[in-house]
Assembly symmetry: C2
Homo-oligomer: 390 residues x 2
């Protein structure tokens, strides 16, 4: 496995486009990812009961384990839109299929943005009509697509890796309403590896568990979370454990980019829990720490307030014996045997003034390990979300 720098069009056989079709005022709001060849496909979606309409369409279309194109709009989430919303989502897929000359069942649709509004179908329809001629395998086309799916994101999110003869490249978006549960915000991953559907789904589920499912910006699980992987097979078969390693890498890189670009965030918080009774316990504890508003506020203020870290692990639901707990912040031990270690708070506070804050928690009772990724809670987060609507 070798990390690579490229967009989704860096994968042979994949084309893309990103453009403005008038859903947002000025910024790009519409993207297409398309493979020249049919693909095996896998997907994970949100557990939110108020699942958005496009996800219902995708669950239907991906049943045969195949797909060839993904059509994405930003600005409107097409969630909480009832039967009309579902009709609009199916119609979008049909329009895309007709424009691309493929079967509607091979088109997946994604929406992200404001909940409750209907898709502006005239704009969508007009935007779709010309895509066949606009799709391109150029680097710019991949960048345009990654840009078009952004909402409150401040940075594009792309990651890629080479696995044997094959390439895996992905793009993602997400900055708020991020607390993925069995799935995440939008991420689309393309590969030219030849991977059968069953294996592809297993690899994706494994990769998502320790990447997108281990990040949180604000504890709010979205209605639209989706990760889609398309494999067009052009590079032929690859070693499946190498493929897993590569896919996990791409998912983790994208997930970390989402956490670091959390709404209003000034830094990424990376928390590794070791010594847990199980991996599941380690995950619970790590997620509780990076999700705690008190830990997140302390991170913003560069305050080595370890009591909040131990308290978060304590309510996470993991097995814990306080007297066994050790904590480090930026490499400095601040808690030993569940009690304050001797450390210089001003020194640790200085170390915390970094775009990456690393916290480790050793529960000292088992072998379970996990890492979770979050961001600090800032004035800007409140500002962005108090001002969103009006």
């Amino acid at each position: 496995m070798e990390p690579a720098i490229m967009g989704i069009t860096g994968v042979p056989g994949f084309e893309a486009l990103g453009k403005h079709i008038g859903i947002k005022r000025k910024r790009k709001d519409f993207a297409v990812i398309s493979s020249t060849k049919p693909c095996t496909a896998a997907m994970t979606v949100t557990t939110n009961k108020a699942r958005a309409a496009p996800l219902t369409v995708n669950l239907d279309h991906i049943k045969d384990g195949k797909a060839q194109a993904v059509i994405i709009n930003s600005g409107v989430a097409n969630a909480c839109t009832g039967s009309k919303g579902l009709e609009d989502a199916y119609h979008t897929a049909a329009l895309g299929a007709s424009a691309l000359g493929i079967n509607a069942k091979d088109v997946l649709v994604l929406s992200t943005g404001r909940i409750g509004d209907f898709l502006p179908m005239e704009k969508i329809s007009s935007g779709i009509s010309t895509i066949k001629g606009e799709l391109s395998s150029s680097k710019q086309a991949g960048t345009d697509a990654a840009e078009a799916i952004m909402t409150t994101d401040t940075k594009m999110k792309q990651a890629a890796v080479r696995v044997g003869k094959a390439t895996i490249a992905g793009m993602a978006k997400g900055a708020g309403m991020i607390h993925p549960n069995m799935a995440t915000m939008l991420a689309i991953i393309a590969t030219d590896a030849k991977v059968p559907t069953g294996a592809l789904q297993r690899c994706l589920t494994t990769a998502v568990e320790s990447s997108f499912n281990m990040i949180s910006v604000d504890n709010d699980t979205s209605t639209n979370d989706s990760v889609i992987v398309l494999a067009n097979g052009l590079a032929g078969p690859v070693d499946i454990s190498e493929f897993q390693e590569g896919l996990s890498y791409v998912c983790l890189e994208l997930a970390k980019m989402i956490a670091a670009d959390g709404e209003g965030a000034t830094k990424l918080i990376e928390t590794t829990v070791t010594g847990a009774a199980s991996v599941d316990d380690a995950r619970k504890a790590a997620k509780a720490v990076i999700s705690s508003p008190l830990v997140k506020s302390a991170a913003f203020g560069n305050d080595p307030n370890w009591g909040r870290i131990v308290a978060a692990a304590g309510y996470s639901g993991c097995k814990m014996r306080p007297e066994k707990v050790s904590v480090t912040i930026q490499g400095t031990t601040v808690v030993r045997d569940g009690m304050s270690a001797r450390f210089n708070p001003n020194h640790v506070s200085e170390l915390m003034k970094s775009p990456k804050l690393i916290i480790t928690v050793d529960l000292g009772i088992g072998k379970g390990t996990a890492t979770a990724y979050g961001c600090d809670l800032t004035y800007e987060y409140v500002k962005i979300n108090a001002d969103y609507h009006t």
Copy 2:
């Protein structure tokens, strides 16, 4: 049942004091509540695994269902303090017992404040030595005690009710690290009703379930949450269902005061969920709505962003069929059949400019109902918690 305005010393046979003993720089930091007669006692405590030392002492001391005095300090939580912390808590109870001339087993101890620091035992010891002569049944003494347990609270929290010949009065504190789970921040409730221990514990558990366990300020479950009720029996027996009603009232009033006084809060958010498949489902959904950082930010910005309300219910774990959901904000229907209802957003935004924001969610599939209480997320919350330490 008749609501009453009084502090904890309004209950016959109860004395109190609140004073400064030097744990904090200037503000009162030490309180005692004491009954002239032995009491039956009941308690609920935090589920946080990093439970503070005083709670371990109380679980030991309350085993016989009896207690007579509660000694409380603010400023230091005596949590994550190992065996020394436990020793200090036992020692505090022993010192109190000796000063009051009662059995150490009849003294409960509570601490609230910063996690990780040891109790300043010299100050505690010196402060305790004179309490016998300082205890008073005056109204001022009750007020002093309610004031002395405050940390980041901006308001004292007292509530009382008359039940037949008896009185129930309580005081509480809490503003941050508030997401009680089977218990809550500090609350001490006194009554002169004669209630056997078993019934007292059952009444308390019932009352806590729909009061302290239904509030959240920041999703962070504290290490020190405790609710204690002392019944000295001076008024004789009372109808137990009337007592339950009165105790539930006092708990709910105190819980609402904690939610409204959440760190940095400008308003109380009250969310009632109806039509849930069960009461448990209604509780999950109501708590998810008032806990959502996105809903809380929208409340601060007076933004009728109902999508965030539906999304929070959707990920709460309750049974939900989106097409059955209705939502009102300040009495205006904003969602009908899971979709946007016709409403004037500017008008609803105006209505939201109130110290109390009322949201209702009708899930439309059953008869379960519950109400949860939270507060908005503001710049001030971030400021308070980014600045706490340094």
